[in-house]
Symmetry: none
Subunit: 209 residues, 2 copies
DNA sequence: GAAAAACTACCGGAAATGCGGTAGAAGGCT
DNA sequence: AGCCTTCTACCGCATTTCCGGTAGTTTTTC
């Protein structure tokens, strides 16, 4: 019996996966969490064989959560879940101990295949994801998605909404110099040299819209 | 008995919705289609009471499909579904005969409420969607889509690709001062005061990607 | 062929961004 | 307690953007 934990804040996705797996006798969904915090709590009591992990969680970066889980539970298999426009996250996930990757438009058969494959110790990448990973490597040097802090995400979003440094400083009640520092750090993490490029790359990697 | 048709290319979402509605005796899912073409075929044989329509379909623009369905079947209620909280989609859907709007991170209760509401002849908008609609109306009142010249479009695109003024000047073999003038004119036309805002507004109005 | 629009280029000055650092305080994790 | 990360804030300096004009030369349009 293979035990599964779902981590996804969409009830729709939770229900969908449960339904897909209900008819399979060798697989059992033992839990479903809506946030990273909830998931870590759950894992403290029961350790599943496979985790289906949504990359976009409300309280925590999915990549960070993956890293944390991998540190603490070496044996568990982690399969990332995401929609097509966030495929830039794939390399990031694999670098942080992910065992596979599924797009949310998957078929039931593909889900089962992925579970089988990671349980056998292999990495599973969905067809579509595979293609995109290659494109990604081609178009971006190293094409890896960095981990952003809470503040950095906040400021990235403000920049995407067209706000300038001084305006953001006023809104967040911070020194303009502080905003400049965060902006600089964002530049470094994304390897860009102006805000436009920052927004373009962040968008391409799935951090925006 | 209220009959439902699901139009969504994600099996996950189809299964999720079916599960959510399975326990409700007054509602029945009579079909699930993965594309616009399939949906139109289905509708030629059976007409449901409510259609749950994903805006992002593989073969057809969800808005166009909504329009088509509304033309042919005046009585059916159409509820839009989308994962991205995209500006423009909501008003676009309502203008094309949509009766409501749900985000895919909805709870079961919200889905039921939406179905009830549209069946009673009302429009249902999810909380989050509601806020966005208001924002939308505000920004539309202030500025409508301007007409751009060839050069302006070219430079807008370069800016969206992250290029700075001097770089664009070199690429187009023009004076940097000329680029500045075009950029200034773009600012005026879109009523913005920096490149980030320019790109955001241009994107929202459909000039980019 | 004339008028209108678009494209090009300039000036001067204020404001913001970008670049390379440093550094203390606060909070989390082990 | 000690380490690490994050958040905050600063300095100096160069570059770029932004704002308000003006203006000559094409190209398009009527």
């Amino acid at each position: 019996m293979i035990s599964i934990l779902i981590i996804d804040d969409h009830p729709l996705v939770q229900d969908g996966i449960k339904t897909m797996l209900k008819a399979v006798p060798s697989v059992e969904v033992i839990g479903a969490c809506k946030s990273g915090g909830e998931a870590l709590e759950f894992l403290a009591t029961v350790e599943p064989d496979v985790i289906l992990l949504d990359i976009n969680l409300p309280d925590m970066d999915g990549l960070v959560l993956c890293e944390k889980i991998r540190e603490r539970y070496a044996k568990v298999k982690i399969i990332g879940l995401t929609s097509i426009n966030e495929v830039g996250m794939i390399t990031g996930l694999l670098q942080r101990g992910g065992n596979g990757y599924l797009l949310k438009n998957m078929e039931r058969a593909e889900l089962l295949q992925a579970i089988e494959k990671v349980m056998a110790g292999n990495v599973y990448l969905s067809e579509d994801a595979n293609v995109k990973v290659l494109e990604q490597y081609k178009s971006f040097d190293e094409g890896k998605a960095p981990v952003l802090t809470r503040r950095e995400k906040e400021i990235l979003l403000s920049l995407a909404n067209g706000l300038s440094g001084p305006v953001i400083a006023k809104e967040l009640v911070l020194s303009e110099l502080t905003i400049q520092t965060h902006r600089k750090n964002l530049f470094r993490k994304f390897d860009v040299h102006n805000v436009q490029s920052l927004l373009k790359v962040a968008r391409d990697l799935g951090f925006l819209k």
